[in-house]
């Protein structure tokens, strides 16, 4: 009986500790050993769609809720919103759909940020530290749900400033098309 009890306690402790990984934060990131930019290829040798899957990226950023939230802050501060809006796109292509022009793997997105792309995407090499670019990658991928379920935040940061159209109270139109104002 007591052995069973001990096992239960140990299992609980182990489970609760494993949950901490999601919130891991690294303030002094070690510079990456491999140079991702030199290994990512936007296309294969033959013309046409023949994707080359890049080597796996540092997973610590793709599995940390902290990295995703930092990525979101940086996405706003570094003015990614200026062209991509909050994922819906504008001057730049939308980021929340399933169409990935230059690849959806973390290393692809990283290369796109660092190298820039034709028709407007600037290069942020030297401007954005590599670890921050990886955080932005994590956030960009979270926009279309490519992150593990336990990493992506379940709530949005901002308040809902208006109710959904379904719950909007019905209003009576006034002005030139409204009959009520004239009948008064």
């Amino acid at each position: 009986m007591s052995r069973c009890y001990q096992f239960a306690v140990l299992a609980t402790v182990a489970l609760s500790l494993s949950a901490c990984k999601r919130e891991t934060r690294e303030f002094r990131p070690v510079p990456p050993a491999q140079n991702v930019l030199n290994t990512v290829q936007v296309s294969g040798l033959n013309p046409g769609a023949n994707p080359v899957v890049p080597p796996p990226a540092p997973s610590v950023y793709q599995e940390s809720a902290y990295a995703v939230s930092q990525g979101q802050t940086l996405y706003n501060q570094y003015n990614c919103v200026g062209c991509h809006a909050n994922g819906g796109g504008g001057i730049g292509p939308p980021l929340m759909d399933n169409n990935w022009i230059y690849g959806s793997e973390p290393a692809n997105v990283f290369a796109t940020i660092m190298q820039g792309r034709p028709n407007g995407m600037p290069s942020f090499r030297n401007r954005i530290p590599e670890y921050q670019a990886w955080e932005i990658v994590a956030y960009v991928r979270s926009l279309s749900g490519l992150l593990p379920k336990d990493v992506a935040p379940a709530r949005s940061d901002t308040m809902n400033i208006k109710p959904a159209p379904e719950s909007m109270p019905r209003q009576t139109p006034t002005g030139i098309t409204g009959a009520t104002e004239q009948s008064k």
Binding site: R25, F27, R28, P29, P31, Q77, Y78, N79, N126, R127, I128, P129, Y131, Q132
Partner: protein, 335 residues
């Protein structure tokens, strides 16, 4: 308040740059007066309570030391005790009411001394973990933006319009006034008037994250002429450096991560994420009053801010030694 000076000296209170004693403004003097009023009332109450305890403890019951004393019934004594307790209750209520009235009056004094027509208006915006300071002007090019250092003229009313960029902070310069919370998306007016020139320290007083303790600011109170001169200098954009090393430093600044967060007016750097560096060299401290503004401290801060303030928004910048030296030389030209 009577006896403040000698008592403060006896209690080893040194009214320094970060202290509510020896107030530098009308508001702080009112608050200090209230403090000493409550202090002296509490002092008298404390002495009376200790005296009563001592008297009760010193009472000597004669009898068998092994037995609990049996008190004889004493109706006159009970009545006396009843009167005594009743009076004490009434005096307590009256005293507390008096303190309440004085508190309200002091609050009114602190607020009413400040409804002036022509105040110096300053926007203070709390960030994790530094203070953005803006002297707004209807003419956009006359607006002054700086960080962590608030210059005010002596003897003129000042109104601080508070705001926050992220979480709740609290603006607290103890020599000058009480605390005022900085709420995101909500501006409030905080008035004061500094009477004594000097440099007074302030501190964030609402826990706001990892570096809350290193979120200081200073209020520099100077004569109106000095203030006008300072403002005139701050309005100017940064000039082009003449020194070749500083020119290289400017290039490094504009081609590395610095440009993503900082503004240097007069150059391409225009981001509002970090403090405005247009007149960095004119400031005495960096990193929200954490380090002195010296060459060594700036170098340490640029290369590894996460060692000095873990969690700060500034990223480590592993610049090449030559580039680092050049950038610092450039930053030191930003007078």
């Amino acid at each position: 308040m009577i006896g403040v000076g000698p008592i403060a000296a006896a209690l080893l209170i040194d009214p320094g740059a970060h202290s509510m004693f020896g107030g530098a403004s009308t508001q702080a003097s009112h608050i200090e007066w209230l403090y000493w009023l409550i202090f002296w009332i509490c002092f008298v109450v404390y002495v009376l309570v200790i005296a009563a305890f001592t008297r009760a403890g010193a009472r000597n019951y004669r009898g068998d030391p092994g037995m609990l004393p049996v008190l004889p019934k004493d109706e006159a004594g009970d009545r006396r005790a009843g009167w005594f307790v009743g009076t004490a209750v009434v005096v307590t209520i009256l005293t507390l009411f008096f303190v309440l009235v004085e508190t309200v009056i002091t609050g009114k004094k602190v607020e009413s001394a400040t409804t002036s027509k022509n105040p110096v208006t300053i926007n203070v915006i709390g960030h994790q973990w530094w203070w953005e300071v803006i002297y707004p002007n209807p003419q956009a090019d006359q607006t002054v933006t700086t960080a962590n250092e608030i210059h005010v003229p002596v003897g003129k009313p000042v109104v601080i319009l508070t705001n926050s960029a992220d979480v709740i902070h609290s603006f607290w310069p103890p020599n000058i006034n009480g605390k005022r919370d900085l709420l995101p998306g909500y501006s409030s007016a905080f008035w004061f008037q500094v009477d004594k020139p000097g440099i007074y320290r302030g501190q964030c007083a609402e826990f706001c994250g990892l570096q809350h303790a290193h979120m200081g600011f200073s209020i520099i109170a100077e004569s109106p002429e000095q203030f006008a001169q300072w403002q005139q200098n701050q309005v100017k954009p940064a000039g082009d450096p003449t020194d070749p090393e500083a020119q290289r430093g400017k290039q490094v600044f504009l081609t590395h991560a610095c440009i993503m967060c900082h503004t240097v007016r007069g150059t391409d750097a225009g981001s509002r994420f970090g403090p405005d560096l247009t007149h960095l060299a004119s400031r005495q401290m960096i990193a929200a009053e954490t380090l002195p503004n010296t060459r060594g401290a700036v170098a340490g801060w640029i290369v590894d801010p996460q060692r000095i303030k873990p969690g700060t928004q500034m990223s480590p910048n592993p610049l090449a030694p030559d580039d680092l030296q050049a950038v610092i030389t450039y930053l030191q030209t930003l007078q």
